[in-house]
């Protein structure tokens, strides 16, 4: 009996070990655009998803376009809002098929109706008139817009009139947020330089997790259902995974240009199936990994 248990355990380890050999349970699934798609992305800088229709939107900052793909990576369309998009740097899917886009050339927020090719432009500011320098954005489950402001290193939630109704800022010693994600359990924000992840409740109260390992240049954050924190290190070209208390678990990928490597990656995002999307700016591709 003991012999059987030992054999079974050994067999299990043999099966599991190759999966974990690269430092995590992630397998490469596909790349956007797929190799034979016949399209190229000039400089992918960000990605957004449409959970309802299961679509990916890749933001091409140099080409000035938003490029959509279906769940299998099939290219669907490229969109530049009638030439209005010059230098988009982030995007989020809003309600009723509308798109929110950050246009860097003017630092404005664009509200885009893709069907009508209609664009409305909004500058953003605080109630005291000081500027918001938008860098990332997201729409929560109630359709409210949240924007990362690099001017203050804070995340702000906007009301229907795009006025700041709530600011989420780091505590003492904060070096400013560089990315955030909105989940059912709150707003999560990455303070890259300080190596901390904040979690904010609806009312703005926060808890903070210090990451155990110092990363080179953290730029993006994701959180899986088990509460593990995924942090993208732009200069190291790797994804570091931490436990809910900030304990380092493993990292994967690495700096380079070959398949399975990253060159100045810019963003992490989980899609509707929990697949991990990594925007690899320097390699002009988006890598998608599944468990």
């Amino acid at each position: 009996m003991t012999y059987r248990i030992l054999t079974a355990l050994l067999g299990f380890l043999l099966v599991v070990s190759p999966v974990w050999a690269d430092g995590g349970p992630w397998n490469f699934l596909m790349q956007l655009p797929v190799n034979d798609a016949g399209i190229t992305i000039d400089r992918p800088i960000a990605i957004a998803i449409d959970e309802e229709n299961k679509r990916y939107y890749v933001v091409d900052a140099v080409g000035g376009t938003l490029i959509s793909f279906d769940s299998d990576g099939k290219h669907l369309a490229a969109f530049n809002a009638g030439g209005e998009l010059k230098q988009p740097v982030a995007m989020a899917k809003g309600l009723r098929g509308m798109l929110w886009v950050i246009e860097r050339s003017t630092n404005q927020l664009f509200y885009v109706n893709p069907k009508e090719q209609e664009v409305r432009k909004f500058p953003l500011s605080y109630p005291d008139g000081s500027l918001i320098f938008p860098a990332r954005l997201a729409v929560d489950s109630q359709g409210r817009l949240l924007v990362l402001d690099r001017m203050r290193g804070a995340v702000v939630r906007l009301d229907d009139n795009l006025k700041v109704e709530q600011s989420f800022v780091g505590g003492q010693g904060s070096k400013g947020f560089v990315d955030f994600k909105v989940r059912k359990d709150g707003l999560w924000a990455l303070d890259g330089l300080a190596g901390k992840v904040y979690r904010f409740a609806e009312d703005g109260t926060s808890s903070v997790v210090a990451l155990e390992t110092r990363l080179e240049f953290p730029v993006s954050l994701e959180i899986d259902d088990a509460g593990q924190l995924y942090v993208l290190d732009r200069h190291a070209g790797s994804v570091a995974v931490f436990g809910p208390r900030g304990d380092f678990r493993f990292d994967f990928l690495g700096r380079g240009k070959r398949h399975g490597r990253l060159w100045y990656p810019s963003q992490l995002l989980f899609d509707w199936e929990g697949r991990l999307c990594v925007v690899d700016e320097g390699n002009n591709r988006v890598d998608i990994f599944s468990r």
Binding site: A135, R150, G153, K175, H235, K257, Y264
Partner: protein, 395 residues
């Protein structure tokens, strides 16, 4: 009988003296048969030399190390100087000679005229490498003037690149204890919370207060309200410098508040600086405050691009549309200095896509001038083979 006893005693004393005076194997007397003993004299003598114990450091016959040293220089020194070893190992940044294990760069191992067996007088020794720091000022900080660099710097290691003995204002407050006077000069602020080195040059300056030389106009004219009367965010700067905002409007923008306050102050001092733009003299070290990883990576590399400490030669410090915030495409940035290389190169550009990712090849495909590499010309691999086979698989 009496004569015998006296003879025996004399013989005993003579033998004893002989044992004490005559050199044991490897000790100084036999060494000085060949090595001039005058070279081992000085005001300060290393204790093994003073004790005629050459064999504490040298093997008299053969050794693996130069100078017949028993061990590698640093290991040998630390075998006695253990407290120093512990302190050095706990330092975030080591002085370069310590890092390289060349204690002899500063210390004479046998004898010297200066305390600590230093080969030269304090300041003269430091300036023999740090030539750029040897300047004359109308007003000089007393330790600098008297060559007592070690009053502020730890010559072995410290918590940052300056090897300072203490952080923040505590370094200065060790000597400058007149709190009331300092409060008066700093609008009543608690000196412990001040960043003294942000405004004062620790070596010298034109004025008695050793303020850094380039001054913000409102500061010079005492018009504090020009900035402090406004919001403390970037608008305090943009109100007078509105055109600067557009320089940040790039895919990669450097605009990032690092303390929840004014993002401009992450790089610029609002009062005084060493050079135009109210920036510190040591450009790279200003960048290092946030980009420590790049500097750490570079420090490990054998081949580093010259002038790497002047980041703005290649990077646009406000914003860029290129990864790494380069001033343009890599081939354009590199060609600004490497003009000849424009005429002969591996195919680059749109007609030469990198087979690994389809991206047009450029200088950075093969070279890493930013962090440097372990290969000459900052290549990503050995030019004989390792680099080329990444693309030329059948090579």
């Amino acid at each position: 009988m009496k004569r015998r006893i006296i003879s025996t005693l004399v013989m005993f004393v003579v033998s004893l003296v002989g044992i004490v005076v005559s050199p044991a194997s490897g000790l100084a007397a036999s060494c000085f048969d060949c090595h001039n003993s005058a070279d081992f004299r000085g005001k300060v003598v290393h204790s093994p030399v003073a004790e005629n114990r050459c064999d504490q450091c040298h093997s008299p016959h053969v050794a693996r190390h130069e100078g017949l040293l028993l061990q590698e220089q640093k290991v040998l020194c630390f075998s006695c100087h253990r407290q120093l070893e512990k302190r050095v190992n706990n330092s975030a940044v080591m002085h370069q000679p310590v890092k390289e294990g060349t204690c002899r760069s500063c210390h004479a191992p046998h004898a010297a005229d200066y305390a600590g067996l230093l080969t030269k007088r304090g300041g003269d020794l430091c300036f023999s490498c740090h030539e750029q720091a040897k300047k004359s000022y109308a007003n000089m900080h007393e330790p600098f003037k008297s060559g007592k660099c070690d009053a502020c710097h730890d010559p072995h290691g410290g918590s940052d690149y300056r090897l300072l003995k203490a952080t923040g204002s505590s370094l200065c407050l060790g000597c400058h204890k007149a709190e009331a006077e300092m409060k008066k000069a700093h609008l009543g602020r608690d000196s412990r919370n001040l960043d003294c080195l942000g405004c004062h040059h620790p070596h010298g300056g034109k004025e008695r207060a050793l303020l850094r030389e380039i001054k913000h106009q409102p500061f010079t004219s005492g018009n504090c309200q020009a900035c402090h009367g406004r919001t403390q965010g970037a608008d305090a700067c943009l109100g007078c410098h509105p055109d600067v905002l557009a320089t940040f409007n790039h895919t990669h923008s450097h605009l990032q508040s690092t303390d929840g306050g004014n993002p401009c102050q992450a790089c610029h001092n609002p009062h005084v600086g060493d050079r135009a733009g109210l920036l510190p003299a040591n450009e790279g070290q200003g960048c290092r405050a946030c980009h420590e990883g790049t500097f750490t990576r570079r420090a490990k590399m054998l081949h580093q691009h010259p002038g790497w400490n002047k980041c703005s030669d290649c990077h646009d410090l406000h914003g860029s549309d290129w990864p790494g915030m380069l001033k343009g495409s890599p081939e354009v940035v590199c060609a600004r200095c490497h003009e000849d290389h424009k005429k002969f190169t591996h195919p680059i550009g749109d007609k030469a896509p990198d087979p690994r990712n389809g991206v047009p090849m450029n200088c950075m495909t093969c070279h890493d001038a930013n962090a440097g590499t372990m290969y000459k010309h900052f290549l990503h691999g050995s030019a004989e083979r390792g680099l080329c086979v990444q693309c030329h698989l059948s090579y």
